[in-house]
Protein backbone atom coordinates (compact mmCIF):
# COMPACT_ATOMS: atom_id res chain seq x y z
CA UNK A 1 0.00 0.00 0.00
CA UNK A 2 2.98 2.30 0.50
CA UNK A 3 3.32 2.75 -3.24
CA UNK A 4 -0.25 3.97 -3.56
CA UNK A 5 0.04 6.15 -0.47
CA UNK A 6 2.67 8.11 -2.38
CA UNK A 7 0.04 9.23 -4.87
CA UNK A 8 -2.64 9.80 -2.32
CA UNK A 9 -3.27 13.40 -1.33
CA UNK A 10 -4.14 12.52 2.25
CA UNK A 11 -0.93 11.03 3.52
CA UNK A 12 -2.03 10.38 7.11
CA UNK A 13 -5.14 8.33 7.73
CA UNK A 14 -7.61 9.25 10.44
CA UNK A 15 -8.92 5.83 11.45
CA UNK A 16 -5.95 4.95 13.71
CA UNK A 17 -6.50 8.25 15.55
CA UNK A 18 -10.17 7.38 16.06
CA UNK A 19 -9.21 3.97 17.37
CA UNK A 20 -6.67 5.38 19.81
CA UNK A 21 -9.00 8.10 21.11
CA UNK A 22 -11.77 5.59 21.68
CA UNK A 23 -9.53 3.17 23.52
CA UNK A 24 -8.37 5.82 25.98
CA UNK A 25 -11.84 7.31 26.44
CA UNK A 26 -13.61 4.02 27.01
CA UNK A 27 -10.97 2.75 29.42
CA UNK A 28 -11.82 5.77 31.56
CA UNK A 29 -15.59 5.63 31.11
CA UNK A 30 -15.73 1.95 31.99
CA UNK A 31 -13.67 2.37 35.15
CA UNK A 32 -15.44 5.46 36.40
CA UNK A 33 -19.03 4.20 36.28
CA UNK A 34 -20.84 5.63 39.30
CA UNK A 35 -18.11 8.09 40.14
CA UNK A 36 -18.38 10.47 37.22
CA UNK A 37 -18.45 13.32 39.75
CA UNK A 38 -14.91 12.48 40.90
CA UNK A 39 -13.50 15.79 39.66
CA UNK A 40 -16.27 17.73 41.43
CA UNK A 41 -15.63 15.94 44.72
CA UNK A 42 -11.87 16.34 44.48
CA UNK A 43 -12.29 20.04 43.81
CA UNK A 44 -14.57 20.50 46.81
CA UNK A 45 -12.32 18.60 49.21
CA UNK A 46 -9.10 20.21 48.03
CA UNK A 47 -10.65 23.67 48.24
CA UNK A 48 -11.86 22.96 51.76
CA UNK A 49 -8.31 22.08 52.82
CA UNK A 50 -6.82 25.20 51.25
CA UNK A 51 -9.67 27.30 52.65
CA UNK A 52 -8.65 26.32 56.15
CA UNK A 53 -5.41 28.24 55.70
CA UNK A 54 -6.12 31.02 53.24
CA UNK A 55 -9.21 32.88 52.16
CA UNK A 56 -9.74 32.09 48.49
CA UNK A 57 -12.11 33.33 45.84
CA UNK A 58 -13.94 30.27 44.47
CA UNK A 59 -14.27 31.85 41.06
CA UNK A 60 -10.49 32.07 40.82
CA UNK A 61 -10.02 28.34 40.89
CA UNK A 62 -9.62 26.28 37.74
CA UNK A 63 -9.68 22.53 37.72
CA UNK A 64 -8.54 20.62 34.65
CA UNK A 65 -8.51 16.93 33.97
CA UNK A 66 -6.46 15.22 31.31
CA UNK A 67 -7.30 11.57 30.78
CA UNK A 68 -4.27 9.81 29.40
CA UNK A 69 -3.63 6.28 28.30
CA UNK A 70 -1.53 5.23 31.31
CA UNK A 71 -2.05 8.09 33.76
CA UNK A 72 -4.44 10.97 34.16
CA UNK A 73 -3.53 14.33 35.53
CA UNK A 74 -5.64 16.59 37.66
CA UNK A 75 -4.54 20.18 37.52
CA UNK A 76 -5.81 22.60 40.15
CA UNK A 77 -4.98 26.23 39.79
CA UNK A 78 -5.77 28.35 42.83
CA UNK A 79 -5.25 32.07 42.79
CA UNK A 80 -4.17 33.27 46.23
CA UNK A 81 -4.47 37.02 46.65
CA UNK A 82 -1.59 38.88 48.26
CA UNK A 83 -3.75 39.99 51.16
CA UNK A 84 -4.71 36.41 51.93
CA UNK A 85 -1.08 35.36 51.83
CA UNK A 86 -0.15 38.09 54.29
CA UNK A 87 -2.90 37.00 56.59
CA UNK A 88 -1.76 33.41 56.46
CA UNK A 89 1.83 34.39 57.26
Amino acid sequence: MKFFDFFSKQSSSSAPKARERLQVLLAHERSSVGQSDLVVRLREEILAVIGKHVKIDRDKVTVKMDRGEKVSTLEIDVEIPLSAKLRAA
Binding site: F4, F7, S8, Q10, S13, S14, A15, P16, A18, R19, R21, L22, Q23, L25, L26, E29, R30, V33
Partner: protein
Amino acid sequence: MAKIIVVTSGKGGVGKTTSTAALGAALAQRNEKTVVVDFDVGLRNLDLVMGAERRVVYDLVNVIQGDAKLPQALIRDKRLETLHLLPASQTRDKDNLTAEGVKRVMDELRKSFDWIICDSPAGIERGATLAMRHADIAVVVTNPEVSSVRDSDRIIGLLDAKTAKAERGERVEKHLLLTRYDANRAERGDMLKVDDVLEILSIPLLGIIPESMDVLRASNLGAPVTLADSRSAPALAYLDAARRLAGETVPITIPGERRGLFGKIFGRRAA
Protein backbone atom coordinates in the same frame (compact mmCIF):
# COMPACT_ATOMS: atom_id res chain seq x y z
CA MET B 1 -39.05 -21.60 22.65
CA ALA B 2 -39.61 -17.92 21.90
CA LYS B 3 -36.62 -15.62 21.83
CA ILE B 4 -36.77 -11.91 22.55
CA ILE B 5 -34.23 -9.80 20.69
CA VAL B 6 -33.60 -6.12 21.33
CA VAL B 7 -32.08 -4.04 18.54
CA THR B 8 -30.32 -1.20 20.30
CA SER B 9 -27.45 1.29 19.91
CA GLY B 10 -27.66 4.31 22.17
CA LYS B 11 -26.98 6.63 19.26
CA GLY B 12 -29.72 7.59 16.85
CA GLY B 13 -29.58 7.19 13.09
CA VAL B 14 -27.24 4.21 12.99
CA GLY B 15 -29.80 1.80 11.53
CA LYS B 16 -31.81 0.22 14.36
CA THR B 17 -35.16 0.43 12.61
CA THR B 18 -33.73 -0.67 9.25
CA SER B 19 -32.03 -3.60 10.97
CA THR B 20 -35.14 -4.55 12.96
CA ALA B 21 -37.22 -4.68 9.78
CA ALA B 22 -34.55 -6.51 7.76
CA LEU B 23 -33.77 -9.12 10.44
CA GLY B 24 -37.46 -9.56 11.24
CA ALA B 25 -38.31 -10.22 7.60
CA ALA B 26 -35.26 -12.50 7.22
CA LEU B 27 -36.32 -14.63 10.19
CA ALA B 28 -39.92 -14.71 8.96
CA GLN B 29 -38.65 -15.80 5.52
CA ARG B 30 -37.28 -18.87 7.31
CA ASN B 31 -40.90 -19.68 8.09
CA GLU B 32 -40.54 -18.81 11.75
CA LYS B 33 -43.29 -16.73 13.33
CA THR B 34 -41.86 -13.29 13.93
CA VAL B 35 -43.14 -10.04 15.39
CA VAL B 36 -41.31 -6.71 15.27
CA VAL B 37 -42.23 -4.35 18.11
CA ASP B 38 -41.68 -0.59 17.92
CA PHE B 39 -40.69 0.89 21.30
CA ASP B 40 -40.11 4.38 19.99
CA VAL B 41 -43.29 5.86 21.46
CA GLY B 42 -43.90 9.33 20.09
CA LEU B 43 -41.49 8.90 17.17
CA ARG B 44 -42.57 5.67 15.56
CA ASN B 45 -41.03 4.71 12.24
CA LEU B 46 -40.96 0.96 12.05
CA ASP B 47 -44.47 1.04 10.53
CA LEU B 48 -43.15 3.28 7.74
CA VAL B 49 -40.07 1.17 7.01
CA MET B 50 -42.27 -1.94 6.96
CA GLY B 51 -44.76 -0.24 4.62
CA ALA B 52 -47.65 -0.64 7.08
CA GLU B 53 -48.14 3.01 8.07
CA ARG B 54 -51.63 3.19 6.63
CA ARG B 55 -52.83 0.10 8.45
CA VAL B 56 -52.10 1.13 12.04
CA VAL B 57 -55.25 1.11 14.18
CA TYR B 58 -54.09 0.22 17.67
CA ASP B 59 -50.62 0.38 19.15
CA LEU B 60 -48.42 -0.83 22.01
CA VAL B 61 -49.68 1.85 24.41
CA ASN B 62 -53.32 0.95 23.64
CA VAL B 63 -52.56 -2.66 24.54
CA ILE B 64 -50.69 -1.70 27.72
CA GLN B 65 -53.52 0.56 28.84
CA GLY B 66 -56.17 -2.04 28.04
CA ASP B 67 -57.85 -0.08 25.23
CA ALA B 68 -57.19 -2.90 22.79
CA LYS B 69 -56.40 -6.60 22.89
CA LEU B 70 -52.99 -7.68 21.61
CA PRO B 71 -54.33 -9.53 18.52
CA GLN B 72 -56.23 -6.37 17.51
CA ALA B 73 -53.05 -4.32 17.54
CA LEU B 74 -50.88 -6.80 15.60
CA ILE B 75 -50.57 -6.01 11.90
CA ARG B 76 -49.83 -8.94 9.60
CA ASP B 77 -47.38 -8.24 6.81
CA LYS B 78 -48.91 -8.34 3.32
CA ARG B 79 -45.90 -10.08 1.79
CA LEU B 80 -45.05 -12.62 4.48
CA GLU B 81 -47.73 -14.21 6.58
CA THR B 82 -45.24 -15.19 9.28
CA LEU B 83 -44.27 -11.55 9.85
CA HIS B 84 -46.16 -9.22 12.19
CA LEU B 85 -45.78 -5.68 13.46
CA LEU B 86 -46.77 -4.18 16.80
CA PRO B 87 -46.54 -0.42 16.22
CA ALA B 88 -45.70 2.25 18.77
CA SER B 89 -48.03 5.09 19.60
CA GLN B 90 -47.34 8.30 17.72
CA THR B 91 -49.36 10.69 19.88
CA ARG B 92 -48.43 9.62 23.42
CA ASP B 93 -45.08 9.91 25.13
CA LYS B 94 -42.79 7.32 26.61
CA ASP B 95 -44.21 7.71 30.14
CA ASN B 96 -47.16 5.64 28.95
CA LEU B 97 -44.89 2.59 28.82
CA THR B 98 -45.00 0.86 32.19
CA ALA B 99 -42.70 -1.92 33.33
CA GLU B 100 -45.64 -4.20 34.23
CA GLY B 101 -47.46 -3.41 30.97
CA VAL B 102 -44.41 -4.21 28.84
CA LYS B 103 -43.85 -7.45 30.75
CA ARG B 104 -47.47 -8.51 30.18
CA VAL B 105 -47.22 -7.83 26.43
CA MET B 106 -43.89 -9.69 26.16
CA ASP B 107 -45.26 -12.70 28.08
CA GLU B 108 -48.27 -12.83 25.78
CA LEU B 109 -46.15 -12.51 22.62
CA ARG B 110 -43.88 -15.32 23.82
CA LYS B 111 -46.85 -17.70 23.64
CA SER B 112 -47.50 -17.23 19.94
CA PHE B 113 -44.22 -16.21 18.31
CA ASP B 114 -40.79 -17.75 17.72
CA TRP B 115 -39.03 -14.39 17.49
CA ILE B 116 -39.95 -11.11 19.17
CA ILE B 117 -37.75 -8.27 17.91
CA CYS B 118 -37.88 -5.04 19.89
CA ASP B 119 -36.80 -1.88 18.07
CA SER B 120 -35.32 0.36 20.75
CA PRO B 121 -35.51 4.14 20.65
CA ALA B 122 -32.21 6.03 20.72
CA GLY B 123 -30.90 7.18 24.08
CA ILE B 124 -30.70 5.45 27.43
CA GLU B 125 -34.00 6.62 28.91
CA ARG B 126 -37.18 4.77 29.78
CA GLY B 127 -38.09 3.64 26.23
CA ALA B 128 -34.64 2.18 25.63
CA THR B 129 -34.37 0.45 29.02
CA LEU B 130 -37.87 -1.04 28.68
CA ALA B 131 -37.11 -2.26 25.15
CA MET B 132 -34.07 -4.18 26.44
CA ARG B 133 -35.71 -5.22 29.71
CA HIS B 134 -36.87 -8.74 28.73
CA ALA B 135 -34.34 -9.49 26.00
CA ASP B 136 -32.60 -12.85 25.67
CA ILE B 137 -30.40 -11.53 22.87
CA ALA B 138 -29.20 -8.00 22.10
CA VAL B 139 -28.17 -6.82 18.66
CA VAL B 140 -25.97 -3.77 19.17
CA VAL B 141 -26.08 -1.72 15.98
CA THR B 142 -22.91 0.31 15.50
CA ASN B 143 -21.46 2.51 12.76
CA PRO B 144 -17.67 2.55 12.31
CA GLU B 145 -17.51 6.03 13.79
CA VAL B 146 -16.32 7.30 17.19
CA SER B 147 -19.57 8.59 18.69
CA SER B 148 -21.49 5.47 17.70
CA VAL B 149 -18.83 3.16 19.19
CA ARG B 150 -18.80 5.11 22.44
CA ASP B 151 -22.59 4.97 22.78
CA SER B 152 -22.60 1.25 21.99
CA ASP B 153 -20.12 0.71 24.80
CA ARG B 154 -22.50 2.49 27.17
CA ILE B 155 -25.43 0.37 25.98
CA ILE B 156 -23.42 -2.82 26.49
CA GLY B 157 -22.89 -1.71 30.10
CA LEU B 158 -26.64 -1.21 30.53
CA LEU B 159 -27.39 -4.63 29.01
CA ASP B 160 -25.16 -6.16 31.68
CA ALA B 161 -26.80 -4.22 34.50
CA LYS B 162 -30.39 -3.20 33.82
CA THR B 163 -32.04 -6.15 32.09
CA ALA B 164 -34.25 -8.77 33.76
CA LYS B 165 -31.67 -11.42 32.85
CA ALA B 166 -28.83 -9.42 34.42
CA GLU B 167 -30.85 -8.98 37.60
CA ARG B 168 -31.38 -12.75 37.78
CA GLY B 169 -27.62 -13.19 37.51
CA GLU B 170 -27.82 -14.42 33.91
CA ARG B 171 -26.33 -12.82 30.81
CA VAL B 172 -28.01 -11.28 27.83
CA GLU B 173 -26.36 -12.66 24.69
CA LYS B 174 -24.82 -9.64 22.95
CA HIS B 175 -23.97 -9.36 19.25
CA LEU B 176 -22.44 -6.59 17.23
CA LEU B 177 -24.04 -5.58 13.95
CA LEU B 178 -21.71 -3.22 12.13
CA THR B 179 -23.73 -1.08 9.71
CA ARG B 180 -22.89 1.45 7.00
CA TYR B 181 -19.50 -0.15 6.56
CA ASP B 182 -17.42 0.93 3.61
CA ALA B 183 -14.58 -1.54 3.05
CA ASN B 184 -12.75 0.79 0.67
CA ARG B 185 -12.68 3.69 3.09
CA ALA B 186 -11.58 1.35 5.88
CA GLU B 187 -8.85 0.00 3.61
CA ARG B 188 -7.61 3.53 2.96
CA GLY B 189 -7.52 4.23 6.71
CA ASP B 190 -10.36 6.74 6.59
CA MET B 191 -12.78 4.60 8.57
CA LEU B 192 -12.48 2.32 11.61
CA LYS B 193 -11.99 -1.27 10.51
CA VAL B 194 -14.10 -4.22 11.60
CA ASP B 195 -11.29 -5.47 13.83
CA ASP B 196 -10.86 -2.05 15.47
CA VAL B 197 -14.52 -1.93 16.51
CA LEU B 198 -14.49 -5.59 17.61
CA GLU B 199 -11.40 -5.07 19.72
CA ILE B 200 -12.83 -1.99 21.41
CA LEU B 201 -16.31 -3.35 22.13
CA SER B 202 -15.27 -7.01 22.55
CA ILE B 203 -18.60 -8.64 21.76
CA PRO B 204 -19.04 -11.24 18.99
CA LEU B 205 -19.83 -10.09 15.46
CA LEU B 206 -23.26 -10.87 14.04
CA GLY B 207 -22.71 -9.30 10.65
CA ILE B 208 -21.36 -6.44 8.57
CA ILE B 209 -23.87 -4.44 6.57
CA PRO B 210 -22.29 -2.45 3.74
CA GLU B 211 -23.13 1.18 3.13
CA SER B 212 -25.51 0.93 0.20
CA MET B 213 -28.09 2.79 -1.85
CA ASP B 214 -30.31 -0.28 -1.54
CA VAL B 215 -31.08 0.57 2.10
CA LEU B 216 -32.57 3.98 1.27
CA ARG B 217 -34.33 2.51 -1.75
CA ALA B 218 -36.00 -0.13 0.43
CA SER B 219 -37.20 2.42 2.99
CA ASN B 220 -38.50 4.64 0.18
CA LEU B 221 -40.57 1.70 -0.98
CA GLY B 222 -41.67 0.68 2.51
CA ALA B 223 -40.12 -2.76 2.37
CA PRO B 224 -37.53 -4.40 4.63
CA VAL B 225 -34.19 -4.55 2.78
CA THR B 226 -34.32 -8.33 2.73
CA LEU B 227 -37.68 -8.24 0.93
CA ALA B 228 -37.09 -5.27 -1.39
CA ASP B 229 -34.24 -6.99 -3.22
CA SER B 230 -33.12 -10.17 -1.56
CA ARG B 231 -30.00 -10.35 -3.74
CA SER B 232 -28.64 -6.88 -2.93
CA ALA B 233 -25.46 -6.69 -0.85
CA PRO B 234 -27.14 -5.40 2.36
CA ALA B 235 -29.95 -7.98 2.00
CA LEU B 236 -27.43 -10.82 1.71
CA ALA B 237 -25.62 -9.51 4.79
CA TYR B 238 -28.85 -9.31 6.80
CA LEU B 239 -29.95 -12.77 5.64
CA ASP B 240 -26.62 -14.19 6.82
CA ALA B 241 -26.96 -12.34 10.14
CA ALA B 242 -30.44 -13.84 10.62
CA ARG B 243 -29.07 -17.33 9.98
CA ARG B 244 -26.44 -16.72 12.67
CA LEU B 245 -29.15 -15.55 15.09
CA ALA B 246 -31.00 -18.80 14.38
CA GLY B 247 -27.89 -20.70 15.42
CA GLU B 248 -26.36 -21.58 12.06
CA THR B 249 -22.64 -21.24 11.52
CA VAL B 250 -22.11 -18.90 8.58
CA PRO B 251 -18.62 -17.56 7.86
CA ILE B 252 -18.40 -13.76 8.02
CA THR B 253 -17.45 -12.00 4.82
CA ILE B 254 -16.58 -8.33 4.60
CA PRO B 255 -18.88 -6.96 1.90
CA GLY B 256 -17.12 -5.16 -0.94
CA GLU B 257 -13.62 -6.16 0.07
CA ARG B 258 -12.96 -8.62 -2.72
CA ARG B 259 -11.57 -6.11 -5.19
CA GLY B 260 -8.66 -6.61 -7.48
CA LEU B 261 -5.76 -4.28 -8.08
CA PHE B 262 -7.73 -2.45 -10.76
CA GLY B 263 -10.59 -1.93 -8.31
CA LYS B 264 -8.22 -0.48 -5.73
CA ILE B 265 -6.70 1.99 -8.15
CA PHE B 266 -10.09 2.91 -9.50
CA GLY B 267 -11.57 3.29 -5.99
CA ARG B 268 -8.70 5.56 -5.02
CA ARG B 269 -9.09 7.80 -8.03
CA ALA B 270 -12.80 8.07 -7.52
CA ALA B 271 -12.33 9.23 -3.93
